[in-house]
C-alpha cells in the first residue's frame, strides 16, 4: 500500500532504448495511417487513437511474458501492437476483412488474438476488469505462473464494475496488474468532474492493493514500474495498481470537436511527447544516430505499408457465414 513511485528507477542501461523507441514508433505511425484511412472511408465505425500514450503499452509489455494475459479497451491498437499482434491482421480487422484478427467481426474496438492471449478490445468502459479477475482466478486455481495485465482509462474508475473487480482481486489475492491510463479525460469529462478523489492511487489503496503513480510519458519509467509491479504480482503479492499519468494528443474518437480542453493544454502536453523524449535521450547518449533513426522510420513505414496492402487485398467473409460464431456448438 503505497502511492509513491517505485524505487530503483533504472535507465537506458537496463532497457533496450532503441527497441522501445521502435515499438512506440510502430504504434504512432500505424495510427497516423489509420487517420488517413479513416478520412478515405477505408476504416469506419468508432476509432480511438492511442497517440501520445504509446509509452504506457510499450513499457508494460516489456514486463510481460508470452504466457501472461492482456485485457484492453476500445483504445487498444497500441496494446495490440506492443503485445505482438500482427499489424497486418490488425489493419485487416479495421477494414472488416476476414483476414482480420477477429475475422472482421470486431473492428477497431475488438481486436482479439487467442494465441497472443490478447483478450480484446472491450468497448464497455470497465467491462474488461471482471474478465481480468476471472482470467487470473483461473490461473490462480490452476497454480499457473501467469499475470493478467488489464488496461483501462481513468474514466472507468467511477464505474461499479471497477470497484467490484478491484475488491475481488485484492480479496482473493489474484495475479492481476491493473493498468490505469489516466489521460485526464473520459471523452470530455475531466477527472475532477468525475471523481471526488482525484488521486487514483489513494482509491486503489483503499482496496488494500499496492498502488503507484507513474509518469506515463516516460517509457522507461513505465517499463520500470511494470517490471516491479509484475514481480510483486508474480511473487504472489496479490494484485497491483499502476496509474500511468498520460495524455491523448488526439480527439477522443473521430467525431470529437474537443470543446472541453484548450489548444494550449494539448500543446503543452505535446512538448512531453514520449517518442521525442526517448529519441532525444538516445541521440544524446549516442545510442541512436540520425541515420539509425531514419532507417527505423523506413522500416516502420514499410511495416505499415505492408499492413495496408494486406488489408486492401483482404476479402470479405461470405454473408452466408453471418450466423457463424454465435454458438460454437450448433444445435443438431
Amino acid at each position: 500500500m503505497t502511492s509513491t513511485l517505485p524505487t530503483g528507477r533504472s535507465g537506458l542501461d537496463q532497457w533496450d532504448g532503441v527497441l522501445l523507441l521502435r515499438e512506440m514508433l510502430r504504434i504512432r505511425r500505424f495510427e497516423e495511417r489509420c487517420v488517413e484511412l479513416y478520412s478515405a472511408s477505408k476504416i469506419r465505425g468508432f476509432m480511438h487513437l492511442y497517440i501520445g500514450e504509446e509509452a504506457v503499452a510499450t513499457g508494460v509489455m516489456q514486463a510481460l511474458r508470452p504466457q501472461d494475459a492482456v485485457v484492453s479497451t476500445y483504445r487498444e491498437h497500441g496494446h495490440a501492437l506492443a503485445r505482438g499482434l500482427d499489424p497486418k491482421a490488425i489493419m485487416a480487422e479495421m477494414y472488416g476483412r476476414v483476414e482480420g484478427c477477429s475475422r472482421g467481426r470486431g473492428g477497431s474496438m475488438h481486436l482479439f488474438d487467442a494465441d497472443a492471449r490478447f483478450y480484446g478490445g472491450n468497448a464497455i468502459v470497465a467491462g474488461g476488469l471482471p474478465l481480468a479477475v476471472g482470467l487470473a482466478l483461473a490461473d490462480s486455481l490452476r497454480g499457473r505462473d501467469v499475470v493478467t495485465a488489464c488496461f483501462f482509462g481513468e474514466g472507468a474508475v467511477a464505474e461499479g464494475e471497477f470497484h467490484e473487480a478491484m475488491n475481488l482481486a485484492a480479496l482473493w489475492s489474484l495475479p492481476v496488474l491493473f493498468c490505469c491510463e489516466n489521460n485526464l479525460y473520459a471523452m470530455g469529462t475531466a477527472l475532477g468532474r468525475s471523481e471526488s478523489q482525484t488521486d487514483l492511487t489513494i482509491k486503489a489503496s483503499s482496496y488494500e492493493m499496492s498502488a503507484w503513480a507513474v509518469d506515463g510519458m516516460d517509457v522507461l519509467a513505465c517499463a520500470d514500474a511494470a517490471r516491479e509491479a509484475v514481480e510483486l504480482v508474480r511473487g504472489g503479492g496479490g494484485p497491483c495498481f499502476l496509474e500511468f499519468r498520460t495524455y491523448r494528443f488526439r480527439a477522443h474518437s473521430m467525431y470529437d470537436p474537443e470543446l472541453y480542453r484548450s489548444k494550449e493544454e494539448v500543446a503543452e502536453w505535446k512538448t512531453r511527447d514520449p517518442l521525442d523524449a526517448l529519441a532525444r535521450r538516445l541521440r544524446e547518449d549516442g545510442l541512436l544516430s540520425d541515420a539509425g533513426r531514419d532507417a527505423m522510420e523506413r522500416e516502420v513505414e514499410a511495416e505499415v505499408d505492408e499492413a495496408v496492402a494486406f488489408a486492401e487485398a483482404g476479402t470479405l467473409e461470405p454473408v452466408e457465414d453471418l450466423t457463424r460464431f454465435v454458438y460454437r456448438r450448433d444445435v443438431p
Binding site: A123, D256, E317, T323
Partner: protein, 333 residues
C-alpha cells in the same frame, strides 16, 4: 399534428435538442444529466450548446456510473424534480437495469400507489454504423416487457421533437429510445412543432393490401418499402407504433382489420422481439380476419458484426421488407 405556419428542414439531432431546450425553458424542475451531456456537447451532439445556455446544474455531466446516476435521476424524480437522464446508449443501460426495473418500474406499485417516479430516461439505440457487438443493440422492444414504465420510440421528426415534453408531464417513468443512425437524417418539420401525444400508434401511410407495422429506426425503411411496393401495385399501410409500452393494441387490430395482412418490421433480434408480441396480439385479436399469417422481418440473431456487409445483412433492409410483403400479398411467401 400541428398546423404548420411554416416548415423548415431539420435533423433528428436538432429536433431532439429543441425538445430538450424547450423543456429546460418551460420547467425549472427539469434538468438534463448524463455522461458528457455538457462540456462535450453530448456524445452525438444532441445537447450541444445547452450547458452554455443553462449552466452546469441544469445540464449536468456525470461520471461513468450508469447505475448511480440513473438511480439518482429516479430519486430526484421521487423528490419533486423532472429529470431527463441520458444514458449515452442502450448498450450501457444494461448497467442501470436494476435501477430501471427494480426501482423506477416497481416503486409506485410496491409503495401502494404513494410514490411515483416521473423520470425520463433517454438513450440512443440501434445498429447500422459499424459499431460492432457491444455498441449496436436494439433493445427498446425488449424494454417494453417491463410493466411500470412507458417506452417511446420516435420514428419521425415530429416525435423526436415532441415526445419529450409529454413524457416529462407523465407521472410515470418514461424511456425514450433515439435511433442513432437517424440523428443526421433531415427532413421538414413545421416551424411551430411542439409536444405530441404519446398514447397512440399512428398510421404513416394508408394502404389496403397489407400493413407494415413498425417503430423507431425501421419507420423510414418501412416507408421506403411501401413506396417500392406501390410501384409494384401493392398498397401498403404503414403503422408506426410510437409507444412500445403500453402497446396500442386497438391500432394494431385496426390496421389488420383494414388490410387483413401484416408484416412486422423490427430491428430487434427476432426471437422474443416486440414483433413477436405484435404477431401474438394479432393472433389473439384478429385471427379470423387474416388472409395470411403475420410475418416478421427482424434482426438476425447474432451479436451485430463490425464488417459493413455483415452488419447490413443482419438488420432489416427495405428490399427484405418488400420481398416478404410481396410474398404475403401474392401468396407465394
Amino acid at each position: 399534428m400541428t398546423t404548420a405556419t411554416g416548415v423548415r428542414e431539420t435533423t433528428f439531432r436538432d429536433a431532439y435538442r429543441e425538445g430538450i431546450r424547450d423543456a429546460l425553458i418551460r420547467d425549472d424542475a427539469t434538468f438534463l444529466m448524463g455522461e458528457d451531456v455538457g462540456r462535450y456537447g453530448g456524445c452525438f451532439g444532441v445537447s450541444k450548446g445547452l450547458l452554455e445556455e443553462f449552466g452546469p446544474e441544469r445540464v449536468r455531466d456525470t461520471p461513468l456510473s450508469e447505475s448511480g446516476f440513473v438511480g439518482a435521476g429516479i430519486g430526484a424524480a421521487m423528490n419533486g424534480m423532472r429529470p431527463i437522464v441520458e444514458v449515452m446508449t442502450v448498450n450501457f443501460s444494461l448497467l442501470a437495469l436494476d435501477q430501471i426495473m427494480n426501482n423506477a418500474a416497481s416503486m409506485l406499485h410496491m409503495s401502494g400507489g404513494q410514490i411515483n417516479v416521473p423520470v425520463v430516461i433517454r438513450m440512443t439505440t440501434g445498429a447500422g454504423r459499424q459499431l460492432a457487438a457491444q455498441h449496436s443493440h436494439s433493445l427498446e422492444g425488449w424494454y417494453a416487457h417491463i410493466p411500470g414504465i412507458r417506452v417511446l420510440a420516435p420514428g419521425t421528426l415530429e416525435d423526436a421533437r415532441g415526445m419529450l415534453w409529454t413524457a416529462l408531464q407523465d407521472p410515470d417513468p418514461v424511456l425514450i429510445f433515439e435511433n442513432g443512425a437517424m440523428y443526421p437524417v433531415s427532413g421538414p418539420l413545421p416551424a411551430n412543432a411542439g409536444p405530441v401525444e404519446i398514447d397512440h400508434a399512428a398510421v404513416r401511410r394508408h394502404g389496403e393490401d397489407l400493413s407494415l407495422i413498425t417503430y423507431g429506426g425501421s419507420v423510414p425503411r418501412a416507408m421506403l418499402a411501401a413506396e417500392t411496393l406501390e410501384e409494384e401495385g401493392i398498397s401498403a399501410e404503414v403503422l408506426d407504433l410510437r409507444t412500445l409500452r403500453p402497446l396500442d393494441g386497438a391500432a394494431i387490430l385496426g390496421t389488420v382489420a383494414r388490410t387483413h395482412r401484416a408484416l412486422v418490421v423490427d430491428e430487434g433480434w427476432r426471437s422474443g422481439s416486440l414483433a413477436a408480441e405484435v404477431s401474438a396480439r394479432i393472433m389473439e385479436g384478429a385471427f379470423y380476419e387474416l388472409e395470411a399469417p403475420v410475418a416478421r422481418v427482424c434482426a438476425a440473431e447474432v451479436p451485430i458484426p463490425f464488417a459493413q456487409h455483415l452488419e447490413q445483412a443482419a438488420i432489416p433492409q427495405p428490399e427484405t421488407i418488400v420481398a416478404v410483403a410481396r410474398g404475403l400479398v401474392r401468396g407465394d411467401g
